[in-house]
Amino acid sequence: MNKLDLDQNLIRECRQKAATIADEIHGFIYRHTTVTVERTILRLLGVDGVDALGIPVPNVMVDDIRENGNLGLGVSLYLAGALKTTGLDLDSFVKEYVESGKSMAGYLLPSPKEADEILRPYYRKTFDIIQKNRRLREDQKTKLGVPKTQLYVIVATGNIYEDVVQAKAAATAGADIIAVIRSTGQSLLDYVPYGITTEGFGGTYATQANFRIMRKALDDIGEKTGRYIQLVNYASGLCMPEIAAMAAVERLDVLLNDSMYGIIFRDINMQRTFIDQYFSRLINAYAGITINTGEDNYLTTSDAVEEAHTVLASQFINEAFAIKAHLPEKLMGLGHAFEIDPMVENSFLMEVAQAEMAREIFPDAPLKYMPPTKHITGNIFRAYMQDTMFNMATVLTDQSIHLLGMMTEAIHTPFLADRFLAIDNAKLVQQAMKSAREEIEYKPGGFVVTRAKTVLANAHAFLGEVEKINLFRALEAGMFAGVKRPYDGGKGLNGVIEKQQGYFNVVADRMEAELNEN
């Protein structure tokens, strides 16, 4: 499909540049670990629960090793050493560890090979669950079918049980994908809250227990409606890989998982984010979880007409990082958005150009298309009209993950009826414009084609600039969304640890090996 007559050579060069950019960062990534990476290893080995103060045990252990041992060697060796010396199984050791308060840094460390043998039954158990989940998801999707454009809505009540009611209603009305928005500020917590939660602000805490409740609810409603309803959460912020690990175990299907979003929009340190995103994406690749990237955010901060090329450039970079983490294109839900001021002349054509361009450059990616938010005024009738235009652009350009706009955007988190009306709108447009895409060709040299070509050329030039100075410097210079982030600034830097000689990550090594086999 090349409706826009895009220069394939230019696209190839963009990919090469993005690969070079990601390669350079990966040199850094491989030399480092972080506290959340290490906590994730513990979680995937089956360490869970909280201590008497309510602190998650993975946090307690990692902090303990950091203080009393050498976290630069990785928790894998410490845990294996502790199990070997005490002769306890993992659950008994965790129980005793929490009760006794005795450091786990004092045990003799085994070799990586021996550690792998000691820990194998534990990670194997988790890996088997993850693979079973993966197969179940794939079987269900094959059996029940996945619509070409999947309708995605959010729930955000703060109370997981209330979320369930709204999610089920949305699924009944026709939603294919349900995202549970996280409580405001969770992305900045350097731990994952524990247990079932019924209070949150602007969203519901992402916890493993909450994941389980919503998964079950969506399976129930899926069975009732004869569809597979997908569940989304957010592997972003300071606990990217931990959320990915929990999501893999609880069979979430989609995770927001951008390589740079946290840096630019949450002021999370860039070193930390790059290390964390890699491990989280490795887990997603292993679990068959679709990632969604956050390019839409550029356009809420910057101008959607002038900065369109940064969205495309970021998509290339996200793709390059995803490839590094073994994610196939069919799991890369690259993001973009319908955010041009609707009063701009031909704004709709520019939106179509951008969306069609993304479709053609990333033909197998389940593109995530975000609705208008920035130019929604509070006039719900106007918002409903803008959302209709957005829905038309979605159908015309064959987007995959269609995040529905809400008429009450900028007023409150969606009411039950808001979500219903949004689904109704999207379905009506899908029905009325079913074959529109096949019928439409773009005029050679016309507005849409010219616009797409310009954006591609600008993205190409932009990637060249980033390649020249490297991605760390580009982020420092504020090249993305006009936001400048210092290399040593932001949140979470103190959780970055240089790997020491002999470092071992039992989980990542095994996942890498298995993914390389396939």
């Binding site: 703060g158 009305a173 500020g185 929009f265 002021d267 001021d341 009826a417 219903f420 936001v483």
Partner: protein, 245 residues
Amino acid sequence: MKIRPYGDTMADGKVETSFTLPTTSDETGQEIARQFAKQMGFVDPNIVHAEEIGEGFSFFVIYGSVPYTVDTDKIKVEKIETPTMTREEIEDLIEKEVGRDVVFVGASTGTDAHTVGIDAIMNMKGFAGHYGLERYKHIRAHNLGSQVPNEEFVRQAKLLGADVLLVSQTVTQKDIHLKNLENLVEILEAENMRNDVILIAGGARITHELAKELGYDAGFGPKKYAEDVASYAITELIKRKNSKN
């Protein structure tokens, strides 16, 4: 003067509403919706649309008329009285009356992750054709971004020598934004800084009246731009300067 809503005849009192009830959409459900609308004050409510929307809920659209009136003469609202000047006028005013650069420090504070509001006022490009404060001569605008804790915001304000503090809050659930706004005032008072700065709140659901109640000098809601904020702040700054002399 007493007024009521206008549909297509003066004072016909016509209004529409919509709501969702945990019931069916059939005759029974519609009667429940009608009863409900009556309790809301609708005279002869007309259920123009009823539809089941899943999990035992139904959505209703209702038209009707209301008998109530409001006496416009009895309404008092606190509004910002400062007239809005153009960017050039503001720049001239600073040059003549203040005689130095004025420092604005802004952020979306607390856990609030939305930057649209503060960016619209502060960033060079502004919003909908209204340039942001960064573009103004004699204004030094520092936009600290989102999720800035109040303590950090105050620390930065002190460091940068802020004349004007702009706090953006997008409404979240359970009024967390109000607590956060109040908390900032408390910190400023504890630091003895409250009277040294012009404190302004902004956001889609912020009104001047609400901001005053919370202990702010002013509040700006939707459809207010950099020139509205700057006109107020600079006028107020000059007023305070003159009253000190």
